[in-house]
């Protein structure tokens, strides 16, 4: 029998959700300042509205509190995390929709969801004339989403719900016993990378690209946020092809890899611990190498590029972009659509695999792939060894860990759910008349929060497909558990007694 949640349950969820929306109000200050400095007064007025609305909702939610002494349970945190990713994009649309660069409101919601989930698929039109402040806002959404907007709120939040909120965002590994300390560390890592990344990209912009200092800083800030948070939005319509620079591509590639690394790994590196045996590091390196070879071979076979250096450069950049779930590109979507055969396979598989757990990347994740491979290998070894022989079932991740049947069940369940999600979007696109290749490519790109496109995602795409991609981005980012908790909570509210 389903138990209907009490009024207190709803109050505690509304209270926490309100606090997170308060973060949106604070984040809106940055593009507001940018708009004022650039004299983009219309955009500035929409940022004032965004800040006002978000602050008002946060203040109202602040007054809704559960009875004192009532503990916030695990499911509340999950429900709040799931709702956050649905509600925050709606607030974020205020300046996007206000810019007038979207045909319909849902397109601006699509972009906000894409930004917050660090996907990078975009429906904005005439991007190259978009106000800088709105462009900045798109990238800030990626930064917030990548770092975890919930994580941002955790800096100000206390209570037992904090852990479930943290896990609800698709993060598993805590570096410190305290979630708030973990949140602080994640933001410290990000801030350090931001200072270095933006600094280096700004210097490159001025000294190599020949941009003015102000524009170099704008490009550097936006590209940093999109690269480190594996988002993939870019301030110009031609993505990284705009910069025509191998140095720029190399810097961006390093940032993408740093973004796809789990924060646990960042922590281990900061503590100068050895990470070479870490299962995620090994799996990620292995799958990048395999998909790189496949992609390069594919590009060579279709005759897309003849010479070795450009072949490796183009192949490596796109495999890193796909595998880290970033979605930057140096070729047009029309050109990428021509990458058939092995090249298509290499990029698509790289997208589906994704980055490391507890990182800003999406996809199945290296940890699950590594554990699945290890489990299969152990099963084969068990079958081959004499009866009674003991097979050690351990793996290295911040120390030796045991591979339990529960862990393996969870690995295969989530991995299968991802495959199902990939196939679902592809099936809908197929039903709407798209070819299998583009349908699968775009579906994986949306579900694994990548953002590469072969042209299916466009402002004139069917409404149904747009809604499906929005849902895929949402579900893929939160890795199913929080969504299941929200569905369970909704069912209990409606049908419970």
């Amino acid at each position: 029998m389903l138990l209907r949640p009490s009024l207190d349950d709803h109050r505690s969820i509304a209270h926490d959700l309100g606090r997170i929306i308060g973060v949106v109000a604070m984040a809106g200050m940055v593009p507001l300042a940018w708009a004022v400095s650039k004299g983009e007064w219309r955009s500035a007025s929409h940022f004032v509205l965004l800040i006002g609305v978000a602050a008002a909702v946060a203040a109202a939610a602040d007054r809704i509190r559960p009875r004192p002494g009532r503990a916030v349970d695990w499911s509340h945190g999950m429900v709040v995390a799931a709702l956050t990713w649905l509600v925050v994009p709606a607030f974020a649309t205020v300046p996007l929709w206000g810019s007038g660069h979207y045909s319909r409101w849902l397109d601006s919601y699509f972009d906000a969801m894409s930004g917050l989930t660090t996907t990078g698929l975009a429906l904005v039109q005439d991007l190259d004339h978009l106000p800088e402040s709105v462009n900045m806002w798109r990238h800030i959404l990626q930064f917030l989403g990548g770092q975890g907007i919930v994580l941002a709120a955790l800096l100000f939040l206390t209570g037992s719900g904090a852990l479930s909120l943290f896990e609800g965002e698709g993060r598993e590994h805590r570096m410190f016993p305290n979630v708030r300390t973990t949140a602080r560390f994640i933001w410290l890592v990000s801030a350090t990378h931001a200072v270095i990344g933006i600094g280096v990209l700004t210097f490159d912009g001025i000294l190599v690209q020949g941009f003015t200092p102000s524009r170099a800083f704008f490009h550097a800030s936006t590209i940093f946020m999109a690269a480190f948070d594996t988002g993939g939005f870019s301030p110009m319509s031609t993505s990284i092809a705009y910069y025509n620079s191998p140095i720029f591509e190399a810097i961006v590639a390093i940032l993408m890899i740093a973004g796809a690394m789990s924060f646990g790994l960042h922590h281990a590196i900061w503590q100068r611990r050895r990470v070479a045996r870490n299962i995620e590091v090994r799996t990620f390196a292995f799958t990048v190498a395999v998909t790189l070879v496949v992609t390069i071979l594919g590009l060579a076979l279709i005759g897309a590029i003849d010479e070795t250096y450009p072949l490796v450069r183009v192949g490596l950049f796109h495999v890193i972009s796909a595998h880290t779930g970033t979605g930057f590109t140096t070729v047009s979507s029309a050109e990428m659509a021509g990458w058939t055969g092995l090249a298509f396979g290499g990029i698509t598989i790289a997208m589906a695999f994704g980055g490391m757990s507890s990182s800003t990347a999406g996809g199945v994740k290296s940890l699950r792939i590594g554990l699945a491979i290890r489990a299969m290998r152990d099963t084969v070894r068990e079958a081959l060894l004499p009866e009674g022989a003991v097979v050690s079932r351990t793996f290295s991740q911040y120390g030796m860990q045991r591979i339990s049947p529960t862990l393996i069940r969870s690995v295969f369940t989530i991995s299968l759910l991802y495959v199902g999600l990939y196939l679902l979007g592809a099936a809908v696109a197929l039903g709407l008349g798209y070819d299998l290749g583009p349908a699968l490519f775009e579906s994986i790109s949306a579900s694994a929060a990548v953002g590469l496109s072969v042209g299916v995602v466009s402002p004139d795409m069917p409404l149904l497909l747009e809604i499906v991609y929005i849902l895929q981005m949402w579900v893929g980012r939160l890795e199913f558990i929080a969504i299941a908790a929200l569905l369970g909570f909704t069912a209990s509210t409606v049908f419970g007694k």
Partner: protein, 180 residues
């Protein structure tokens, strides 16, 4: 008035001197790169973004989408996403081109003739147009800035003030009023 700006890239690249021909849409070049690779083509469009002045060469992006003739800022009509191609110029950008296009600016409208290079091995796999000739058709133009949305400002300010007041009251930050 049309002005012809002949750039030194003809000498530098050894490209075939430009011959007057019909313009090719950038979308066609990108859709059929093999067909146009190493061919002399002409594109017409707006320079957007930045002038990437690297001393010996200048990199620009030339868009040839519908916004070239009908800027969104003046027409308020959306016509899809942008279509652009990188163009490599030798010889610098004359001052009368004006600012590159962006928010509130329609960039210079140019006609560029040169060799289309798809995933060029010499430059590590870049796709671009090696310009031989650039004809300035129209200089850059400032577009009318959109008016601030006063309704949004007033509503936003009222909501923000209310929120700050409510939060201050909640946290007992406001001075207590005496009953006497």
């Amino acid at each position: 008035m049309k002005r012809l700006v002949v750039l030194a890239s003809v000498l530098v690249t050894g490209a075939t001197p430009a011959v007057a021909q019909e313009t090719v849409p950038v979308s066609t070049l990108l859709a059929l790169p093999d067909e146009y690779d190493q061919q002399v083509v002409t594109i017409r469009g707006e320079i957007v973004g930045d002038y990437g002045d690297r001393g010996d060469v200048v990199w620009v992006q030339v868009n040839d989408d519908p916004y070239v003739d009908e800027p969104f800022a003046t027409s308020d009509r959306l016509a899809g996403t942008n279509t652009g191609l990188s163009v490599r110029l030798t010889g610098g950008i004359p001052e009368d081109f004006g600012d590159a296009g962006g928010h509130g600016v329609r960039g210079p409208i140019v006609e560029v003739t040169g060799v289309f290079r798809d995933l060029d091995p010499a430059l590590g796999g870049l796709t671009f147009l090696e310009a031989a000739e650039v004809v300035l058709i129209e200089s850059s133009e400032r577009l009318p800035a959109p008016e601030p949305d006063s309704g949004a400002i007033i509503l936003g300010a009222i909501l923000l003030a209310g929120a700050l007041l409510a939060m201050a009251q909640r946290r007992d930050l406001l001075p207590k009023r005496s009953l006497s």
